[in-house]
């Protein structure tokens, strides 16, 4: 689905991403995992073209991503950020249907798609007329997810989508996300620093440290065959002293 070869990125002399190769498999959920500043968000933003790598290539469904075609390709990707990234001047519905209206969809088609999405994400229909400031954190993320799913993208990219939520709402949404991903069978890339979340949602984990991929594999692979001591260290730190 997505192929990164030798991408690297330096911010003001600081290497955010060392030359990195990564293949995102179609139909699977790939989780980019690691401590803060490890480059996982940069890697995600390289994938959707918000960050241009200094070197290296990204290809999406065998098409090389260039500045010229990036915008078009983005319409086949969905993107969700930590606080939802909802536009405050638009209602929930306005946010979700923005691209459909821009692309000139007919009203009936927009309405039909909207009701599919509210059902899928279990978003209350009366919330659609509300503005982002009137929504709770969990509702914002559901709206953001609907917006990302609107054009039925091939790839969904989520940057710490649950990072700012209360634990209870967070576990609710985790369950919903897993259900939605399974139901749609989409290719998903998700960034998190939470090992539990990564194990719960991800088919495949990619652990990063200091702009470099340390190990890829399932949670079991990481636990049982750590590539280096850092892997175990990271896992143990997340498990906490009680375990």
């Amino acid at each position: 689905m997505l192929e990164l070869t030798g991408v690297c990125k330096t911010y003001r002399g600081q290497a955010a991403l060392q030359p990195t190769d990564l293949t995102v498999l179609a139909g699977k959920t790939t989780v980019l995992l690691g401590p803060s500043g490890c480059g996982k968000s940069t890697l995600l933003r390289v994938m959707i073209g918000l960050v241009r790598p200094d070197r290296g290539a990204v290809s999406f469904r065998d098409t090389p991503v260039t500045p010229e075609n990036a915008r078009e390709l983005r319409q086949r990707m969905g993107y969700v950020v930590q606080d939802g990234g909802l536009f405050p001047h638009l209602t929930a519905e306005g946010n979700v249907t923005l691209m459909a209206r821009w692309l000139g969809w007919e009203q009936t088609r927009i309405k039909a798609r909207l009701s599919e999405l509210t059902e899928l994400t279990q978003f209350p229909a009366d919330g659609l007329a509300r503005y982002p400031v009137q929504l709770s954190g969990g509702q914002k993320q559901r709206v953001s997810l609907m917006r990302a799913l609107l054009l039925d993208p091939d790839l969904i990219l989520l940057d710490e989508p649950l990072g700012a939520l209360d634990p209870l709402i967070r576990s609710d949404l985790q369950a919903d996300l897993r259900r939605i991903f399974r139901a749609l069978g989409k290719t998903v890339v998700l960034v998190t620093h939470d090992l539990g979340e990564a194990g719960y949602l991800g088919d495949r984990l990619v652990l990063l440290r200091a702009g470099r991929i340390v190990q890829q594999g399932t949670l079991t692979d990481l636990v049982q065959q750590p590539a280096e001591p850092f892997v175990t260290q990271f896992i143990n730190a997340q498990r906490g002293p009680a375990l």
Binding site: L86, F87, M99, Y131
Partner: protein, 504 residues
Amino acid sequence: MRHCTIAILVGLGLWAGNAHAQQPPQVRPGSKAFTESGILGEMLTLLARIAGANATHRASLSGTQIAWGALVKGEIDCYVDYTGTIRKEMLPGRDLPTEDALRNALAEQGIRMSRPLGFANTYAIGMKKDKADRLGIRKVSDLKKHPELKFGFTAEFLDRADGWPGLRAHYQLPQTSARGMEHALAYESLETGSIDATDLYSTDAKIRTHDLQVLTDDLHYFPNYDAVLLYRADLEQRAPQVVTALRQLEGRISERDMVELNSRVELDKAPEVQAAADFLRKLGLLRPEDQMYVRIEGPAARLWRLTEQHLFLSAVSLLAAIVVALPLGILSAYRPAVGQVILGTAGVLQTIPSIALLVFMIPFLGIGPAPAIAALFLYSILPIVRNTHAGLTDIPLPLRESAEALGLPGFARLWRIELPMAARTILAGIKTAAVINVGTATLGGFIGAGGYGELIFTGLYKDDKALILQGAIPTALLALLVQGVFELAERWLVPLGLRLKPAA
């Protein structure tokens, strides 16, 4: 058939020619910003109308250079000035001892000069009579003995060739510093004793009322200041009957007449038109049937006219500023390097004193509304550019990236996402510009652009506080009104989602 066509063409030609001939000539008499000049300007206007011209008076041109420049460039057709002023200020550095020499020198610039109107308005130095008596000062040279005396002069006198610098050198006066002030304020300062002497015009009505001693120019420094009519040579071709009418004033106004006219306006508060009309009637130049040309503007009509002019100045300059500054603000937000230059330049423009900016504009744009609008336009740029820039750059990065990640092209992102989100800040910038504009537009009164400033500046030179307030109060009210209108506009223009308070 052919004959018929020719007849029609000839007929049309005659008709067009006739229409042209019947069009009354346009004549624009001018006057400088002091009472005497204003009254004389009204006389010229009345005489031109009686002679069949369509005359509009461009009053309150502040200063000799502005009036002279307007005459040479053809923005006014005629006005009254003084031979001394012409020699020293308009044609400096030339030796023009005789009236003929002066007339020839003016003709080189396309300007004609009438014979003297009768009175002279010489510069003089005056003090309070009691103080002059106490110190035994009668002549200008007596001032040498009293170096402690404080002088306050009008700005024009302070730096005119025939003003203070020359006077000081000629009499070798010991006083080194002199304060610049409005003429009207100088009288008050004499009363309170904060200055001891000021420059006067010999026809000034206030010499009597303020009980002033005019000091004799014993070393003959001041030249002769005979009042003469200056007019453009082309007026003789365009409207010979008007020139003839105006020149009827030659030798007809005595010094006593002029003092009387000045005091009617300054002390009895008669409108300048009224004083001018009554005088022309006395000379037999205004017959009863010409009364229709005497248009005295009522207070309501004047307020309405000034309101229209004021709104015009503010609105046109603001609209132009929005059209220019909004794109500049957007450019600054998207191209920080260019933005630095744009914001810096706009900031520098803002620091130029407004009167100076107005006067800089005059050589390029002449007098009237154009330079005022240009200056107001420049002042409005900064608040709008700065707020547009701030509104756009304050949008959080995740939101900007979300818009980009959706796949919206740049223009759609700007139009549908970024500008609506910045709307409140941008609108606040436009509101600031509008309110500043309404206040600054009063300076239009300084260069004949009209608006409430006309009352403020007229009030200043006539020392009429009521008149100043009649200009200042509507300005303040209009500024408040504009502020209110923008606050209402916010409800329409700022999206609801940005105005709601967050849910608890």
